[in-house]
Structure formats: structure tokens, C-alpha cells
């Protein structure tokens, strides 16, 4: 039986946290839908309606950050124990796990498809595009096309939910087959693992995982921030001139991980690993602290974060807003939007008249319009023919040539029934 001191329980701790990520991830997959029109709705549903949903999602969100930290601590512990020389497989497995856990965190951040997810996807796109030689190709492969699209979300989903967990599974199984699980996982591992889980569980009860506004509703002043495990990278990118960003944040970490994996076969092991890990710790701690402090010291940034937090708090208090799915062949009778509304109006004013914002353009909601002056059914029909006569400006255009009088009337009669 191995000498199981308290300092060596990082193995057990990592095993418990990986198990928590797998379990909560599987649970979230029971509701989550990886499509650009339903991802946000299903995540909101988990947050607001499903019992324990907010806790499960928060466990998964903060658990991924804690796991990254503890895998890093585990690697440092193995370094101090000279595992790279004494137990190669243990060392290599830990380094691979560190890379995979970071990759899981990066891809998972895109899945809720809220504003922060969108920006994080944008940054991943930019980092890929800036890679030397194959940058353009890497970007296309990551996005699945020339732009961020529904295909991109499916790719991040497949990587996060199938590919990376499978690789983590392989690494863990490979590691465990080489040693007895009973030797690896003693009572102290179980106790420390459970204690950390209790703290994580209480944290997750108190702090629901953040969810930004939907991409379409985020204002131009929205300030996104990455997950805590990527703050150091985010902050570092501020100091690196344009094209070098990809080198520093993708190529260099890749080389560092590759060198650490190859360490058992290298000479001067202690010097190489010691300096790489030491630099890593200094960089991560320094940059995370700088990022944290600068966000709080700058009054305008702090104010904007306060506004965003207030908006998220208000959103949490609003009732859940379900999506509308039409399985009917010809819907006009009860509540569904008229066919012609869906065809011509919904792309700007929303499928249920909720309005939208696209960049600087604001498309007003069509809810409660009868309470406004000059918005009877007859007025709306006339307005559809001649918007300027009602004081409306482009991009609202006339539909005289597109719709018959009857179709306009059908749309108008449906719109006046829409309530907030």
C-alpha cells in the first residue's frame, strides 16, 4: 500500500471532480439542445424551471474551473514527487488531462449561446485564424464554414460532449489499468474529495452559473469575460500585439504541454519542468490578479459589470419564456403567426412579435400595439402599404406589392392580439 499522505490526495480529488463533471454533464444533456435557436431557451429552462437545474449547471460551470486548478496543482505535486522519472504513465496522464480539461472548458463555454458564449467563440476563431501557416484552414475547420453559424455550435457541442470526454476517459482508464485503483484511491482521497465537493456544492448553491443575454439582445456596450480558468490568457492577450496572440496563447502552451509529456525521456528534467511550471504559475497568478484588479479599479468597467449583473438578476426573476414549435401543417387558427407574417415580418420583428436588435438596428416589438395611437387593424393595414405615412423609417418598407389586402388584414388581426 502506498504511503498515502494528505498532500498526495490530489489524485483522488481530481478523480472525484472529473466524476462530478461527467455526471452533471450527462444530466445537462437531458435538456440541452445544440441549435442556435433553442440552446439559450433550453439553458434558461434548466436554470429557471427544472428542479435542482440551477445547482447542477452551477456545479458543472464552477466544477470545470476548480478541476482545472486542481489538475494544475496535481501536476505540480507530481513534479515535486519526481513522478516524471519514477512513474512515467502517471506523469504523462496528468499532463494530457490538463490539456484536455482546458479544451473541455473552452468548448463548453460556447454552448449556452448567450452573449459571452458568442464572444468566446469569436476569440477562439481569432486565435485559430492567427496561427502560423495553417491559420486560415484551422479557423475554417473549427467553425465548420467561413463564419460562425449553426454548424459551429454543433462542432463545439460534439467536441465538448463526445470527443473530449472520450479522450479524458481513455487517459483515465489507461492510467488506472497501470495501477490498482485501491492503491491509487485511499480513504484520505475519498475524504478530501468529498470535502472539496461539499465546498463546491455550497458555492454552487449560492452562486448560480452566469448566463448572459441572448446574442441578439446584447447591447454594443456588453462586456464579456471568459471563465476563471482562462482569465490569465484573456489578460495576456491585451499585452501581445495582434498577430502574435495566437503564437503565445496556442502554439506556446502546446509546445509546453508537448515538452512536459516528453519529459520522462529528456535530460535535465528537474530544470526544464521546474522552469516551465514555475513560469506557468507566475504567469497565471499574475495575469489573473491583474485582470481581476483592473476590472474592479476602472470605474466605467465596474459600472458596466454592475449593470450586467443587475440585468442578469432581473432576468432570473422573470418567468421562463418558452419557445414556440409548430408541428402543424397549416397554422392560422389559434395563436400561431399567419404564414405571411412568418415569411416577411418574423425575421426582423421576431416569430412572436417580440422585436429584435441587429447591430445598431432596433426592430420594435409588436406587443400591445392597440394601446398606441393610430394602430387599429385598419391603421396597421394602411401602415403596411405606406410606412412613411405613419412616421416609420427604413428598413421598414411597404408591402403593397408583396401582400394582398386580405393577407395584410390577417397579419394585422393577429398582431393586435399580441400581449406583453
Amino acid at each position: 500500500m502506498r504511503d498515502n499522505s494528505w498532500l498526495q490526495t490530489t489524485t483522488g480529488l481530481v478523480i472525484v471532480l472529473v466524476a462530478v463533471q461527467f455526471l452533471t454533464g450527462v444530466l445537462l444533456a437531458f435538456y440541452y439542445v445544440p441549435s442556435v435557436d433553442h440552446a439559450y431557451t433550453t439553458v434558461s429552462y434548466v436554470e429557471k424551471v427544472v428542479s435542482s437545474g440551477s445547482w447542477i449547471r452551477s456545479l458543472h460551470h464552477y466544477g470545470s474551473q476548480w478541476l482545472t486548478v486542481f489538475v494544475f496543482v496535481h501536476v505540480i505535486r507530481l513534479f515535486l514527487d519526481r513522478a516524471y522519472a519514477l512513474n512515467r504513465i502517471q506523469w504523462i496522464a496528468a499532463i494530457l488531462l490538463l490539456g484536455l480539461v482546458m479544451a473541455a472548458g473552452g468548448t463548453g463555454y460556447s454552448l449556452p449561446w448567450d452573449a459571452r458564449a458568442f464572444f468566446s467563440t469569436r476569440v477562439a476563431e481569432g486565435l485559430m485564424a492567427g496561427l502560423p501557416i495553417a491559420g486560415g484552414m484551422a479557423r475554417l475547420w473549427l467553425l465548420g464554414g467561413s463564419d460562425i453559424s449553426p454548424v459551429t455550435l454543433s462542432r463545439f457541442f460534439a467536441l465538448h460532449v463526445l470527443v473530449i470526454p472520450a479522450l479524458i476517459g481513455f487517459v483515465v482508464v489507461w492510467r488506472l489499468f497501470r495501477s490498482q485503483l485501491a492503491e491509487l484511491f485511499g480513504p484520505r482521497d475519498a475524504i478530501v474529495g468529498a470535502l472539496v465537493f461539499v465546498v463546491l456544492g455550497l458555492w454552487a448553491l449560492k452562486h448560480p452559473a452566469p448566463l448572459g443575454p441572448p446574442v441578439a439582445e446584447a447591447g454594443a456596450d456588453y462586456l464579456p469575460r471568459p471563465g476563471a480558468q482562462f482569465l490569465w490568457l484573456y489578460q495576456s492577450l491585451k499585452y501581445i500585439p495582434g498577430g502574435l496572440g495566437s503564437i503565445v496563447s496556442v502554439v506556446l502552451p502546446g509546445i509546453v504541454l508537448a515538452v512536459l509529456v516528453a519529459l520522462p525521456w529528456l535530460k535535465r528534467q528537474r530544470l526544464i519542468a521546474g522552469s516551465l511550471l514555475g513560469l506557468g504559475v507566475v504567469l497565471v497568478v499574475l495575469m489573473t490578479t491583474v485582470s481581476y484588479l483592473s476590472d474592479r479599479r476602472d470605474p466605467r468597467t465596474a459600472q458596466q459589470f454592475a449593470r450586467q449583473a443587475a440585468a442578469e438578476e432581473a432576468w432570473r426573476r422573470q418567468p421562463f419564456n418558452p419557445a414556440t414549435i409548430t408541428l402543424a401543417a397549416g397554422v392560422t387558427a389559434s395563436g400561431g403567426a399567419p404564414e405571411m407574417y412568418t415569411k416577411f415580418c418574423a425575421s426582423c420583428h421576431g416569430t412572436q412579435g417580440q422585436g429584435a436588435q441587429q447591430g445598431p438596428l432596433k426592430f420594435p416589438p409588436l406587443l400591445d400595439v392597440p394601446s398606441k395611437p393610430r394602430r387599429s387593424v385598419d391603421d396597421i393595414v394602411a401602415l403596411l402599404k405606406d410606412p412613411p405615412a405613419y412616421g416609420l423609417q427604413p428598413p421598414m418598407r411597404s408591402f403593397s406589392g408583396k401582400l394582398t389586402e386580405e393577407q395584410m388584414r390577417e397579419i394585422a388581426e393577429w398582431i393586435v392580439k399580441l400581449k406583453r
Binding site: 435542482s52 437545474g53 445547482w55 475519498a190 468529498a194 421562463f320 414549435i325 397554422v331 387558427a333 389559434s334
Partner: protein, 158 residues
């Protein structure tokens, strides 16, 4: 088993059991199904003036249901039965849920799946179905026949 190893496995088992029990309890609540709420809206079936002749009349109603994270709008076939004072029945066969069709030449409803047959008043004639076609709550308002949609599962429970 020595006292030492059993103490070790106990110390290992208890904390892990606590972790997985708390996630397991939350998982049970998390996965518990939510019954869909039918909206109690009255849906137009037809104008009373259209309902003439002895034959059952096939109509489509579009019902909304709140199911999980979506409001689902779905078509449902119903029949108005002049033979039974314009009662409205669901076209869903009460056996296994296929849609029955009206056969004019034999004057009966037949189910394409397992050959259940129903009379013009919706009552069961023969086949594996154990009851007649399910009637829907109906009323006449402003000269229009209206129904509330009730799913088969709800009708079975009632």
C-alpha cells in the same frame, strides 16, 4: 478481512457515497418528467350552418400545448358526428393511437393499424379497441362549434 482494511474501506466508502447520493438525489428531481399542460382554449371546429347531412365530418383543429421548454402547436383530426347531435370526437383510436378514417360505403370508422371499427355515433363495433372514440368537450358559441383538445393520455386517465 482484517479490522484495518475494513476500517479503510469504510472510510473510503462513506465520503464517496455522500458525494454520489447528493448528486443522485438532485438527478432524480432534475430528471422527473413534467406533465404537459393542455391549454383550455376553445378551438373553432366549424360553423353550425356547415354541419348538414348524416355523414361524420372530418375537421382539423390546431391545439397548443406547453411541453417542457416549448409551446407546441400541433394539428389534430376530429370528427363531428351528426348521428349523435354533433358530438365532436378525437380521430385518435383509443387502442394504440393510430388515426381512424371514415368509410362511407360501409358506414363506419376503421382504424388502419389493428382493424378496430366504430359506428357513426363513435361507439365501438369490433376489434381490439376497448371503448368507443373519445368525445371532446364541446360548445356552440356565436354560431360556431368549438372544442377543447384533450390528448389520448389524458382521456385514458379520466
Amino acid at each position: 478481512m482484517t479490522v484495518e482494511t475494513s476500517r479503510r474501506s469504510f472510510l473510503k466508502f462513506v465520503p464517496l457515497a455522500a458525494v454520489f447520493a447528493s448528486i443522485g438525489g438532485a438527478a432524480f428531481r432534475f430528471l422527473r418528467p413534467k406533465l404537459s399542460a393542455a391549454t383550455d382554449a376553445w378551438l373553432d371546429v366549424a360553423s353550425v350552418s356547415e354541419l348538414t347531412g348524416p355523414q361524420p365530418i372530418s375537421r382539423k383543429i390546431v391545439a397548443e400545448q406547453i411541453t417542457g421548454w416549448a409551446i407546441t402547436t400541433e394539428d389534430h383530426n376530429v370528427f363531428v358526428l351528426p348521428a349523435k347531435n354533433n358530438q365532436v370526437v378525437s380521430a385518435i383510436c383509443p387502442h394504440e393511437g393510430c388515426e381512424v378514417a371514415w368509410e362511407q360505403n360501409t358506414n363506419r370508422f376503421s382504424c388502419p393499424c389493428h382493424e378496430s371499427y366504430f359506428a357513426a355515433d363513435g361507439s365501438r363495433i369490433s376489434g381490439p379497441a376497448r371503448r368507443g372514440l373519445d368525445p371532446l368537450p364541446a360548445r356552440v358559441q356565436d354560431g360556431k362549434l368549438q372544442v377543447q383538445y384533450i390528448s389520448k393520455e389524458q382521456a385514458t386517465r379520466a
